[in-house]
Amino acid sequence: MSAIAVSGADFLREHLRARLTLVMLIAIPALFVIASASVLGEFAAALGGSVGGDSASALGAGWAAAFLAGALGFFQVASSREADRRLALAGMGAARVAVARISASIALGLLISTVAFLTLQLSAGVAHPAHAFAAILIFALIYVGIGTLVGSFVSGALEGSLTVAFIFLIDAFSGPGMSGSGGVAQLMPTRKAADVLIAAGAGRGSPASDWIAVALTTLGALLLAAAAFWLSARPRST
Protein backbone atom coordinates (compact mmCIF):
# COMPACT_ATOMS: atom_id res chain seq x y z
CA MET A 1 0.00 0.00 0.00
CA SER A 2 2.81 2.39 0.88
CA ALA A 3 4.48 1.73 -2.49
CA ILE A 4 1.26 2.83 -4.20
CA ALA A 5 1.03 5.96 -2.04
CA VAL A 6 4.69 6.90 -2.60
CA SER A 7 4.49 6.29 -6.34
CA GLY A 8 1.17 8.12 -6.61
CA ALA A 9 2.67 11.15 -4.84
CA ASP A 10 5.72 10.98 -7.12
CA PHE A 11 3.54 10.81 -10.24
CA LEU A 12 1.62 13.84 -8.98
CA ARG A 13 4.87 15.74 -8.34
CA GLU A 14 6.14 14.76 -11.79
CA HIS A 15 3.01 16.23 -13.38
CA LEU A 16 3.15 19.48 -11.42
CA ARG A 17 6.92 20.00 -11.57
CA ALA A 18 6.56 22.52 -14.38
CA ARG A 19 4.91 25.55 -12.78
CA LEU A 20 3.30 26.56 -16.05
CA THR A 21 1.46 23.24 -16.17
CA LEU A 22 -0.02 23.99 -12.76
CA VAL A 23 -0.93 27.51 -13.91
CA MET A 24 -2.71 26.00 -16.95
CA LEU A 25 -4.58 23.48 -14.77
CA ILE A 26 -5.94 26.33 -12.67
CA ALA A 27 -6.36 29.11 -15.26
CA ILE A 28 -7.96 27.11 -18.10
CA PRO A 29 -11.05 25.75 -16.29
CA ALA A 30 -11.59 29.15 -14.65
CA LEU A 31 -11.38 31.00 -17.98
CA PHE A 32 -13.55 28.46 -19.77
CA VAL A 33 -16.29 28.63 -17.12
CA ILE A 34 -16.32 32.45 -17.19
CA ALA A 35 -16.22 32.69 -21.02
CA SER A 36 -18.81 29.99 -21.68
CA ALA A 37 -21.25 31.11 -18.97
CA SER A 38 -22.72 33.86 -21.13
CA VAL A 39 -22.95 31.91 -24.38
CA LEU A 40 -23.78 28.27 -23.59
CA GLY A 41 -27.50 28.97 -23.25
CA GLU A 42 -27.57 30.54 -26.74
CA PHE A 43 -25.49 27.67 -28.10
CA ALA A 44 -27.88 25.10 -26.64
CA ALA A 45 -30.85 26.96 -28.14
CA ALA A 46 -29.15 26.92 -31.56
CA LEU A 47 -28.84 23.14 -31.29
CA GLY A 48 -32.51 22.84 -30.38
CA GLY A 49 -31.71 22.18 -26.73
CA SER A 50 -33.45 23.64 -23.74
CA VAL A 51 -30.69 24.18 -21.20
CA GLY A 52 -30.18 27.81 -20.24
CA GLY A 53 -29.24 30.22 -17.47
CA ASP A 54 -27.41 28.77 -14.47
CA SER A 55 -27.80 25.21 -15.76
CA ALA A 56 -25.86 26.13 -18.92
CA SER A 57 -23.11 27.75 -16.83
CA ALA A 58 -22.93 24.65 -14.64
CA LEU A 59 -22.66 22.43 -17.72
CA GLY A 60 -19.72 24.56 -18.92
CA ALA A 61 -17.90 23.84 -15.64
CA GLY A 62 -18.47 20.10 -16.14
CA TRP A 63 -17.16 20.27 -19.72
CA ALA A 64 -14.04 22.20 -18.70
CA ALA A 65 -13.25 19.65 -15.97
CA ALA A 66 -13.92 16.73 -18.32
CA PHE A 67 -11.82 17.92 -21.26
CA LEU A 68 -8.84 18.82 -19.11
CA ALA A 69 -9.11 15.60 -17.08
CA GLY A 70 -9.21 13.55 -20.29
CA ALA A 71 -6.00 15.20 -21.49
CA LEU A 72 -4.21 14.72 -18.18
CA GLY A 73 -5.36 11.08 -17.91
CA PHE A 74 -3.95 10.47 -21.39
CA PHE A 75 -0.60 12.17 -20.72
CA GLN A 76 -0.21 10.48 -17.31
CA VAL A 77 -0.08 7.18 -19.16
CA ALA A 78 1.37 8.04 -22.57
CA SER A 79 4.27 10.20 -21.40
CA SER A 80 5.70 7.58 -19.06
CA ARG A 81 4.88 4.29 -20.72
CA GLU A 82 8.45 2.95 -20.74
CA ALA A 83 9.19 4.08 -17.19
CA ASP A 84 5.99 2.45 -15.94
CA ARG A 85 6.86 -0.85 -17.62
CA ARG A 86 10.27 -0.81 -15.95
CA LEU A 87 8.67 0.03 -12.61
CA ALA A 88 6.28 -2.92 -13.03
CA LEU A 89 9.13 -5.23 -14.04
CA ALA A 90 11.29 -4.03 -11.15
CA GLY A 91 8.84 -5.56 -8.67
CA MET A 92 6.05 -3.08 -8.17
CA GLY A 93 3.75 -4.98 -10.50
CA ALA A 94 1.51 -3.60 -13.23
CA ALA A 95 -1.60 -3.50 -11.01
CA ARG A 96 0.04 -1.30 -8.36
CA VAL A 97 1.57 1.00 -10.98
CA ALA A 98 -1.92 1.31 -12.53
CA VAL A 99 -3.52 2.17 -9.17
CA ALA A 100 -0.78 4.74 -8.41
CA ARG A 101 -1.05 6.40 -11.86
CA ILE A 102 -4.85 6.56 -11.77
CA SER A 103 -4.78 7.85 -8.17
CA ALA A 104 -2.49 10.70 -9.25
CA SER A 105 -4.87 11.52 -12.11
CA ILE A 106 -7.84 11.44 -9.72
CA ALA A 107 -6.04 13.90 -7.40
CA LEU A 108 -5.41 16.23 -10.35
CA GLY A 109 -9.03 15.75 -11.47
CA LEU A 110 -10.10 16.85 -7.99
CA LEU A 111 -7.97 20.01 -8.32
CA ILE A 112 -9.47 20.86 -11.73
CA SER A 113 -13.02 20.17 -10.52
CA THR A 114 -12.52 22.36 -7.47
CA VAL A 115 -11.27 25.25 -9.63
CA ALA A 116 -14.16 24.83 -12.07
CA PHE A 117 -16.69 24.63 -9.24
CA LEU A 118 -15.31 27.65 -7.34
CA THR A 119 -15.28 29.73 -10.54
CA LEU A 120 -18.86 28.71 -11.22
CA GLN A 121 -19.92 29.51 -7.67
CA LEU A 122 -18.22 32.92 -7.71
CA SER A 123 -19.30 33.95 -11.22
CA ALA A 124 -22.84 32.60 -11.44
CA GLY A 125 -23.71 31.07 -8.07
CA VAL A 126 -25.16 27.57 -7.80
CA ALA A 127 -28.43 26.85 -6.06
CA HIS A 128 -27.45 23.25 -5.19
CA PRO A 129 -23.66 23.48 -4.62
CA ALA A 130 -23.01 20.02 -3.15
CA HIS A 131 -24.71 18.26 -6.07
CA ALA A 132 -23.02 20.58 -8.58
CA PHE A 133 -19.56 19.90 -7.16
CA ALA A 134 -20.17 16.13 -7.09
CA ALA A 135 -21.38 16.20 -10.72
CA ILE A 136 -18.39 18.28 -11.92
CA LEU A 137 -16.03 15.87 -10.14
CA ILE A 138 -17.82 12.95 -11.80
CA PHE A 139 -17.33 14.55 -15.24
CA ALA A 140 -13.60 14.78 -14.43
CA LEU A 141 -13.34 11.20 -13.11
CA ILE A 142 -15.13 9.70 -16.12
CA TYR A 143 -12.68 11.52 -18.40
CA VAL A 144 -9.68 10.51 -16.29
CA GLY A 145 -10.85 6.98 -17.12
CA ILE A 146 -11.33 7.76 -20.82
CA GLY A 147 -7.94 9.53 -21.07
CA THR A 148 -6.18 6.64 -19.32
CA LEU A 149 -7.94 4.13 -21.56
CA VAL A 150 -6.85 6.02 -24.70
CA GLY A 151 -3.31 6.39 -23.34
CA SER A 152 -3.09 2.64 -22.73
CA PHE A 153 -3.66 1.86 -26.39
CA VAL A 154 -2.52 4.94 -28.34
CA SER A 155 1.14 5.84 -27.99
CA GLY A 156 1.45 9.01 -30.13
CA ALA A 157 0.81 12.25 -28.23
CA LEU A 158 -0.95 13.89 -31.18
CA GLU A 159 -3.08 10.87 -32.04
CA GLY A 160 -4.04 10.37 -28.39
CA SER A 161 -4.90 14.04 -27.84
CA LEU A 162 -7.08 14.03 -30.94
CA THR A 163 -8.81 10.80 -29.89
CA VAL A 164 -9.67 12.27 -26.46
CA ALA A 165 -10.92 15.48 -28.14
CA PHE A 166 -12.95 13.43 -30.63
CA ILE A 167 -14.70 11.47 -27.85
CA PHE A 168 -15.24 14.60 -25.78
CA LEU A 169 -16.86 16.63 -28.56
CA ILE A 170 -19.23 13.82 -29.56
CA ASP A 171 -20.17 13.43 -25.90
CA ALA A 172 -20.64 17.17 -25.30
CA PHE A 173 -22.58 17.92 -28.51
CA SER A 174 -24.99 15.04 -28.00
CA GLY A 175 -25.49 15.65 -24.30
CA PRO A 176 -28.77 16.57 -22.60
CA GLY A 177 -29.80 20.17 -23.14
CA MET A 178 -27.83 20.18 -26.42
CA SER A 179 -28.76 18.21 -29.52
CA GLY A 180 -29.27 14.75 -28.10
CA SER A 181 -32.23 13.23 -26.38
CA GLY A 182 -32.53 9.66 -27.55
CA GLY A 183 -30.77 6.84 -29.39
CA VAL A 184 -26.98 7.00 -29.31
CA ALA A 185 -27.09 10.11 -27.10
CA GLN A 186 -28.33 7.92 -24.25
CA LEU A 187 -25.10 5.90 -24.41
CA MET A 188 -22.71 8.85 -24.02
CA PRO A 189 -20.42 8.59 -20.97
CA THR A 190 -21.41 11.82 -19.22
CA ARG A 191 -25.09 11.63 -20.08
CA LYS A 192 -26.35 11.06 -16.52
CA ALA A 193 -23.70 13.30 -14.94
CA ALA A 194 -24.96 16.11 -17.21
CA ASP A 195 -28.55 15.45 -16.08
CA VAL A 196 -27.45 15.75 -12.45
CA LEU A 197 -25.38 18.89 -13.16
CA ILE A 198 -28.17 20.62 -15.10
CA ALA A 199 -30.60 19.84 -12.27
CA ALA A 200 -28.13 21.17 -9.67
CA GLY A 201 -27.64 24.34 -11.72
CA ALA A 202 -31.39 24.86 -11.74
CA GLY A 203 -31.55 24.30 -7.96
CA ARG A 204 -33.11 20.85 -8.13
CA GLY A 205 -31.92 17.60 -6.62
CA SER A 206 -31.66 14.42 -8.68
CA PRO A 207 -33.38 11.07 -8.11
CA ALA A 208 -31.44 8.19 -6.54
CA SER A 209 -31.57 6.29 -9.84
CA ASP A 210 -29.53 9.06 -11.53
CA TRP A 211 -26.91 8.96 -8.77
CA ILE A 212 -26.65 5.18 -9.02
CA ALA A 213 -26.21 5.40 -12.81
CA VAL A 214 -23.57 8.11 -12.39
CA ALA A 215 -21.67 6.12 -9.74
CA LEU A 216 -21.73 2.97 -11.89
CA THR A 217 -20.51 4.87 -14.98
CA THR A 218 -17.66 6.47 -13.02
CA LEU A 219 -16.63 3.18 -11.43
CA GLY A 220 -16.87 1.43 -14.79
CA ALA A 221 -14.71 4.05 -16.53
CA LEU A 222 -12.02 3.90 -13.83
CA LEU A 223 -12.02 0.08 -13.66
CA LEU A 224 -11.84 -0.20 -17.44
CA ALA A 225 -8.97 2.29 -17.46
CA ALA A 226 -7.12 0.38 -14.72
CA ALA A 227 -7.57 -2.91 -16.61
CA ALA A 228 -6.33 -1.35 -19.88
CA PHE A 229 -3.37 0.22 -18.11
CA TRP A 230 -2.55 -3.10 -16.43
CA LEU A 231 -2.69 -4.83 -19.81
CA SER A 232 -0.32 -2.34 -21.42
CA ALA A 233 2.15 -2.15 -18.51
CA ARG A 234 2.32 -5.84 -17.52
CA PRO A 235 5.51 -7.76 -18.20
CA ARG A 236 5.37 -9.81 -21.39
CA SER A 237 7.16 -13.10 -22.03
CA THR A 238 9.60 -12.78 -24.94
Binding site: M24, A46, G48, A157, L158, T163, A165, L169
Partner: protein, 248 residues
Protein backbone atom coordinates in the same frame (compact mmCIF):
# COMPACT_ATOMS: atom_id res chain seq x y z
CA UNK B 1 16.48 23.72 -50.67
CA UNK B 2 19.84 21.90 -50.51
CA UNK B 3 20.35 18.13 -50.39
CA UNK B 4 20.50 17.85 -46.59
CA UNK B 5 17.36 19.92 -46.07
CA UNK B 6 15.45 17.98 -48.72
CA UNK B 7 16.51 14.67 -47.14
CA UNK B 8 15.34 15.87 -43.72
CA UNK B 9 12.06 17.07 -45.26
CA UNK B 10 11.50 13.69 -46.95
CA UNK B 11 12.17 11.92 -43.65
CA UNK B 12 9.83 14.31 -41.85
CA UNK B 13 6.97 13.44 -44.22
CA UNK B 14 7.79 9.73 -44.07
CA UNK B 15 7.59 9.90 -40.26
CA UNK B 16 4.07 11.33 -40.49
CA UNK B 17 2.96 8.80 -43.13
CA UNK B 18 3.98 5.97 -40.78
CA UNK B 19 1.28 7.06 -38.35
CA UNK B 20 -1.95 5.74 -39.88
CA UNK B 21 -4.12 6.69 -36.90
CA UNK B 22 -2.98 10.30 -37.24
CA UNK B 23 -3.93 10.38 -40.92
CA UNK B 24 -7.34 8.88 -40.14
CA UNK B 25 -7.93 11.44 -37.39
CA UNK B 26 -6.84 14.37 -39.57
CA UNK B 27 -9.63 13.41 -41.96
CA UNK B 28 -12.21 12.08 -39.47
CA UNK B 29 -12.12 15.00 -37.03
CA UNK B 30 -13.02 17.72 -39.60
CA UNK B 31 -15.51 15.39 -41.27
CA UNK B 32 -17.36 14.74 -38.03
CA UNK B 33 -17.10 18.18 -36.43
CA UNK B 34 -18.22 20.17 -39.45
CA UNK B 35 -20.86 17.89 -40.92
CA UNK B 36 -22.32 17.27 -37.48
CA UNK B 37 -22.44 20.99 -36.75
CA UNK B 38 -24.59 21.50 -39.83
CA UNK B 39 -26.73 18.49 -39.01
CA UNK B 40 -27.59 19.35 -35.40
CA UNK B 41 -28.06 23.12 -35.60
CA UNK B 42 -31.49 24.64 -36.09
CA UNK B 43 -31.99 27.08 -38.96
CA UNK B 44 -33.18 29.85 -36.65
CA UNK B 45 -32.72 33.41 -38.01
CA UNK B 46 -29.74 35.42 -36.79
CA UNK B 47 -28.78 39.03 -37.52
CA UNK B 48 -25.03 39.56 -37.83
CA UNK B 49 -22.76 42.51 -38.63
CA UNK B 50 -20.32 41.98 -41.50
CA UNK B 51 -16.80 43.46 -41.31
CA UNK B 52 -17.83 46.27 -43.70
CA UNK B 53 -20.51 47.32 -41.18
CA UNK B 54 -23.47 46.01 -43.20
CA UNK B 55 -26.08 43.95 -41.31
CA UNK B 56 -27.23 40.62 -42.68
CA UNK B 57 -29.92 38.15 -41.72
CA UNK B 58 -28.67 34.55 -41.88
CA UNK B 59 -29.31 31.39 -39.88
CA UNK B 60 -27.62 29.84 -36.86
CA UNK B 61 -27.11 26.68 -38.92
CA UNK B 62 -25.08 28.42 -41.62
CA UNK B 63 -23.13 30.42 -39.05
CA UNK B 64 -22.29 27.35 -36.99
CA UNK B 65 -21.10 25.44 -40.04
CA UNK B 66 -19.00 28.36 -41.31
CA UNK B 67 -17.39 29.06 -37.92
CA UNK B 68 -16.75 25.38 -37.20
CA UNK B 69 -14.24 25.34 -40.09
CA UNK B 70 -11.68 27.72 -38.47
CA UNK B 71 -12.30 26.17 -35.02
CA UNK B 72 -11.44 22.74 -36.43
CA UNK B 73 -8.52 23.94 -38.57
CA UNK B 74 -7.13 26.09 -35.73
CA UNK B 75 -7.52 23.30 -33.17
CA UNK B 76 -5.84 20.65 -35.34
CA UNK B 77 -3.09 22.97 -36.64
CA UNK B 78 -2.36 24.12 -33.08
CA UNK B 79 -1.92 20.56 -31.81
CA UNK B 80 0.16 19.61 -34.88
CA UNK B 81 2.38 22.69 -34.35
CA UNK B 82 2.83 21.79 -30.71
CA UNK B 83 3.87 18.18 -31.26
CA UNK B 84 5.92 18.76 -34.43
CA UNK B 85 8.01 21.34 -32.57
CA UNK B 86 8.34 19.15 -29.47
CA UNK B 87 9.62 16.40 -31.71
CA UNK B 88 12.01 18.88 -33.38
CA UNK B 89 13.38 20.03 -30.04
CA UNK B 90 13.95 16.45 -28.91
CA UNK B 91 15.81 15.25 -31.99
CA UNK B 92 16.93 18.11 -34.26
CA UNK B 93 19.60 19.31 -31.85
CA UNK B 94 21.45 16.14 -32.82
CA UNK B 95 21.17 17.09 -36.49
CA UNK B 96 22.72 20.47 -35.71
CA UNK B 97 25.52 18.80 -33.75
CA UNK B 98 26.06 16.51 -36.74
CA UNK B 99 26.61 19.49 -39.05
CA UNK B 100 23.16 20.74 -40.14
CA UNK B 101 22.62 24.47 -39.84
CA UNK B 102 19.62 25.43 -37.62
CA UNK B 103 17.83 26.64 -40.78
CA UNK B 104 18.27 23.25 -42.47
CA UNK B 105 16.83 21.53 -39.40
CA UNK B 106 13.92 23.96 -38.96
CA UNK B 107 12.77 24.08 -42.60
CA UNK B 108 11.56 20.43 -42.78
CA UNK B 109 9.52 20.84 -39.58
CA UNK B 110 7.87 23.99 -40.93
CA UNK B 111 7.16 22.15 -44.21
CA UNK B 112 5.45 19.31 -42.31
CA UNK B 113 3.43 21.75 -40.21
CA UNK B 114 2.26 23.80 -43.21
CA UNK B 115 1.46 20.65 -45.24
CA UNK B 116 -0.57 19.11 -42.41
CA UNK B 117 -2.46 22.40 -42.05
CA UNK B 118 -3.20 22.36 -45.79
CA UNK B 119 -4.49 18.77 -45.57
CA UNK B 120 -6.79 19.66 -42.68
CA UNK B 121 -7.92 22.80 -44.51
CA UNK B 122 -8.67 20.87 -47.73
CA UNK B 123 -10.70 18.22 -45.88
CA UNK B 124 -12.56 20.88 -43.89
CA UNK B 125 -13.45 22.91 -46.99
CA UNK B 126 -14.57 19.80 -48.89
CA UNK B 127 -16.84 18.77 -46.01
CA UNK B 128 -18.22 22.30 -45.68
CA UNK B 129 -19.05 22.47 -49.40
CA UNK B 130 -21.54 19.59 -48.94
CA UNK B 131 -23.82 21.77 -46.80
CA UNK B 132 -22.77 25.36 -47.39
CA UNK B 133 -21.40 27.38 -50.29
CA UNK B 134 -19.76 30.63 -49.18
CA UNK B 135 -20.67 33.82 -51.06
CA UNK B 136 -16.98 34.30 -51.92
CA UNK B 137 -14.62 31.34 -51.83
CA UNK B 138 -11.39 33.40 -51.95
CA UNK B 139 -11.70 35.22 -48.59
CA UNK B 140 -13.31 32.14 -47.00
CA UNK B 141 -10.34 29.92 -47.94
CA UNK B 142 -7.76 32.63 -47.14
CA UNK B 143 -9.30 33.29 -43.71
CA UNK B 144 -9.29 29.61 -42.83
CA UNK B 145 -5.71 29.21 -44.03
CA UNK B 146 -4.69 32.18 -41.89
CA UNK B 147 -6.50 30.70 -38.88
CA UNK B 148 -4.65 27.41 -39.39
CA UNK B 149 -1.23 29.00 -39.84
CA UNK B 150 -1.69 31.39 -36.91
CA UNK B 151 -2.77 28.58 -34.59
CA UNK B 152 -0.06 26.29 -35.95
CA UNK B 153 2.48 28.97 -34.98
CA UNK B 154 0.86 29.44 -31.56
CA UNK B 155 1.03 25.66 -31.01
CA UNK B 156 4.70 25.67 -32.04
CA UNK B 157 5.43 28.54 -29.64
CA UNK B 158 3.55 26.77 -26.84
CA UNK B 159 5.52 23.58 -27.52
CA UNK B 160 8.84 25.42 -27.45
CA UNK B 161 8.14 27.62 -24.44
CA UNK B 162 5.73 25.92 -22.02
CA UNK B 163 6.33 22.26 -22.80
CA UNK B 164 4.26 19.40 -24.11
CA UNK B 165 1.75 19.08 -21.29
CA UNK B 166 1.08 22.74 -20.58
CA UNK B 167 1.06 23.37 -24.33
CA UNK B 168 -1.49 20.60 -24.91
CA UNK B 169 -3.79 22.00 -22.21
CA UNK B 170 -3.52 25.44 -23.79
CA UNK B 171 -4.12 24.26 -27.35
CA UNK B 172 -7.15 22.21 -26.30
CA UNK B 173 -8.94 25.34 -25.14
CA UNK B 174 -7.51 28.46 -26.82
CA UNK B 175 -8.99 27.99 -30.35
CA UNK B 176 -12.37 27.13 -28.82
CA UNK B 177 -12.40 30.17 -26.52
CA UNK B 178 -11.03 32.53 -29.17
CA UNK B 179 -12.70 31.47 -32.44
CA UNK B 180 -15.52 29.37 -30.93
CA UNK B 181 -16.69 31.90 -28.35
CA UNK B 182 -15.08 35.36 -28.58
CA UNK B 183 -15.19 35.76 -32.40
CA UNK B 184 -18.34 33.74 -33.01
CA UNK B 185 -21.24 35.78 -34.46
CA UNK B 186 -23.65 33.17 -33.08
CA UNK B 187 -23.14 34.96 -29.75
CA UNK B 188 -23.14 38.50 -28.37
CA UNK B 189 -24.76 40.99 -30.78
CA UNK B 190 -23.67 39.23 -33.97
CA UNK B 191 -20.17 40.74 -34.01
CA UNK B 192 -17.20 40.20 -31.68
CA UNK B 193 -17.07 42.34 -28.51
CA UNK B 194 -14.31 45.00 -28.24
CA UNK B 195 -11.94 42.88 -26.14
CA UNK B 196 -12.06 40.06 -28.72
CA UNK B 197 -10.24 42.20 -31.30
CA UNK B 198 -7.03 41.70 -29.28
CA UNK B 199 -7.13 37.91 -29.80
CA UNK B 200 -5.34 36.09 -32.66
CA UNK B 201 -8.57 34.67 -34.09
CA UNK B 202 -10.11 38.10 -34.73
CA UNK B 203 -8.58 38.83 -38.16
CA UNK B 204 -9.08 35.38 -39.73
CA UNK B 205 -12.62 34.95 -38.42
CA UNK B 206 -13.78 38.33 -39.71
CA UNK B 207 -12.27 37.52 -43.13
CA UNK B 208 -14.09 34.16 -43.06
CA UNK B 209 -17.42 35.73 -42.09
CA UNK B 210 -16.99 38.27 -44.89
CA UNK B 211 -16.22 35.52 -47.41
CA UNK B 212 -19.07 33.34 -46.15
CA UNK B 213 -21.81 35.94 -46.43
CA UNK B 214 -20.67 38.80 -48.68
CA UNK B 215 -19.80 38.88 -52.38
CA UNK B 216 -17.76 42.08 -52.08
CA UNK B 217 -14.66 42.05 -49.89
CA UNK B 218 -14.93 44.42 -46.94
CA UNK B 219 -12.47 42.91 -44.48
CA UNK B 220 -9.20 44.58 -45.47
CA UNK B 221 -8.52 45.77 -41.90
CA UNK B 222 -9.01 42.30 -40.34
CA UNK B 223 -6.93 40.76 -43.17
CA UNK B 224 -4.03 43.10 -42.36
CA UNK B 225 -4.41 42.31 -38.64
CA UNK B 226 -4.32 38.56 -39.41
CA UNK B 227 -1.23 38.91 -41.62
CA UNK B 228 0.54 40.90 -38.90
CA UNK B 229 -0.30 38.20 -36.33
CA UNK B 230 1.04 35.54 -38.69
CA UNK B 231 4.22 37.48 -39.39
CA UNK B 232 4.90 38.20 -35.72
CA UNK B 233 4.20 34.64 -34.60
CA UNK B 234 6.28 33.11 -37.43
CA UNK B 235 9.25 35.31 -36.52
CA UNK B 236 8.87 34.37 -32.86
CA UNK B 237 8.81 30.64 -33.77
CA UNK B 238 11.91 30.96 -35.95
CA UNK B 239 13.86 32.90 -33.31
CA UNK B 240 12.86 30.46 -30.55
CA UNK B 241 13.72 27.42 -32.66
CA UNK B 242 17.09 28.83 -33.76
CA UNK B 243 17.94 29.53 -30.14
CA UNK B 244 16.76 26.10 -28.98
CA UNK B 245 18.74 24.36 -31.71
CA UNK B 246 21.93 26.24 -30.90
CA UNK B 247 21.86 28.92 -33.61
CA UNK B 248 22.90 32.52 -33.05
Amino acid sequence: MNGRASTATRMGFREQLRRPLLLVLLVAVPLLFISWSFAITEATPRLITLPGGEQLLTTMRELHGAVMVPITVGFLAGLIGLFVIRSALESDRRLVLAGYSPGEAILPRIAVLVSATLVVLAVSLAVTAIDFIPASWGPFVAGNLLAGLIYGAIGALAGASIGRLGGAYLMFFLPMLDIGVAQNPMFFDGSPPGWATALPGYGPTRVIIDGAFSQSFGAIGPLVVALLWLLGLSLAVLVLLRRSLGGH
